[in-house]
Amino acid sequence: MIRLTHVDKSYPNGALALRDVTFRISRGEFVLLTGHSGAGKSTIMKLLFAEQRPTSGEVRVSGYDVTSLRRDEIPKLRRRLGIVFQDFRLLDDRTAAENIAFALEVTGARRDTINARVARVLAQVGLSAKSRAHPRELSGGEQQRVAIARALVNDPAILVADEPTGTLDERATRGVFQLLRDINAAGTVVVMATHDLDLVRQARYRTIELRDGSVVYDSAEDEPDAVEAGR
């Protein structure tokens, strides 16, 4: 589903964000990307949804070659992904349901399809009762659930979550993480960047650790059994 091959990424100011990164993620996997701030987690995330392009090497996501993707093909790739951020990125002047519906509206879906799918994902994230609430009326955990519901509404093959629990308290973190596990259990690939080491230890999912832009540890290669056990 995802393959990075000898990927380098440097910025115009000369800073090297990624150095020779190679890994592949298969169907059904849940992968945690860890590392300190500035290790390169977010850069990998941005490569996955074509916000940035590699300086060299190859990035393939769900059949698309990000390296040579045409600008008009980027929306097609993004419609096959669900993307979740630390800061939720919800529109403040729209209700929870409208925020979720927005992701379907941009694809030109029909109104009755939109209503049915929004109701379904709201139920999936446990927020059916708050569909008409605006983001400011929701807790951080609830806002992140709305963001996850928005990411799910297009039935993505891959869910990309960049520090989705970064600003949440412990209880909300557990809730959001459990939601991501359920989503993965239903067959969606989940790639989650986090620096929450407790989460990494408890989860026992495949973990890729980055340091200074390089992969320094990949549990699939170093401890393949542990990864299998975590599934």
């Binding site: 600008r71 980027i74 529109l91 941009v106 928005r150």
Partner: protein, 289 residues
């Protein structure tokens, strides 16, 4: 389509002040353009009145037989530039002078001999009432043996030509300048809206919106602002027109306002300006996000 309209209208509700400002600026830009247009059409109307008076007069030698003149008149009427030809006899010329030149009425009454020559008055067709054509026709009239002299008011025909050309050029230059200013203003106001909604646009792109989908509401918004600005400018122009016409104490009582087709053209021009301003502004913004 419903979504497009909803998104475009939403921006009016979200930023009423900015939207009002945009519409007002477009309205005033087009108002200035419209005022110039009004001056231009009224000037053209006035010139048309003058133009109709462009005529070439050939004075006939005394004693020329009436048949010769009749034949010549038929020849002249067949010139492609000529609308009609009138033969004015010596007696008719004297009668006209007595009627029209009031100051010399007494002098003309006491005359023993009529000093005025007979003449052939040639009016030119619309589209041929310029100095070059008048000179050409005059030259041909001089070719008739019985013609003593030809006059066509060369100076004022030439001045009329100049005036018409200058009005056209000045109108075009000022019109284009104001149109450019209107495009820039619309572009700036749309850009302000874009900056205000940058977050929303970035979210749209993350959930897979195409650039045309993002552009759509902004283009419609620009077009709507242009439409409203167009109507506002017509209102302002009409107000200005009424004020000028009624306060001028009858001097400009004959002023005309835009024809419905011209009014529609102003509104359509406003819509095009709005569309163009938005297109440029959104295109630039999307390239940088």
């Amino acid at each position: 389509m419903r979504l497009l309209t909803r998104e475009a209208l939403l921006s009016f509700r979200r930023a009423p002040l900015l939207s009002t400002l945009s519409v007002t600026t477009i309205g005033f830009s087009l108002f200035t353009l419209g005022l110039f247009g009004l001056v231009a059409i009224n000037l053209r109307e006035a010139l048309r009145g003058l133009e109709e008076r462009v005529e070439v007069v050939a004075f006939v030698l005394r004693g020329t037989p009436a048949e010769t003149i009749t034949l010549a008149t038929q020849d002249i009427a067949a010139f492609p530039e000529v609308e009609d030809v009138v033969y004015v006899t010596e007696e008719q010329a004297l009668a006209r002078a007595r009627r029209e030149l009031v100051e010399f009425r007494d002098a003309y009454r006491d005359l023993q001999v009529n000093p005025l020559p007979a003449s052939i008055e040639v009016r030119l067709k619309a589209g041929y009432r310029d100095a070059a054509t008048a000179a050409r026709v005059a030259e041909r009239l001089r070719g008739f043996e019985f013609v003593e002299d030809v006059r066509f008011g060369r100076d004022w025909v030439q001045k009329l030509d100049h005036l018409r050309n200058i009005t056209g050029i000045v109108g075009l230059v000022i019109g284009l300048a104001f149109a450019a200013v209107a495009v820039v203003i619309i572009g700036v106001t749309i850009r302000l809206t874009l900056l205000q909604r940058a977050r929303e646009i970035s979210i749209m792109r993350l959930v897979g919106a195409t650039n045309w989908f993002i552009r759509g509401p902004f283009l419609l918004e620009g077009a709507l602002k242009g439409l409203m600005g167009g109507f506002l400018s017509l209102l302002l122009c009409y107000g200005g027109y009424l004020l000028f016409r009624d306060r001028s104490g009858g001097t400009f009582g004959g002023l005309i306002f835009f024809h419905p087709v011209q009014m529609a053209a102003i509104v359509v021009f406003g819509v095009l300006l709005g569309l163009f301003g938005s297109l440029v502004s959104v295109g630039r913004h999307l390239r940088h996000v």
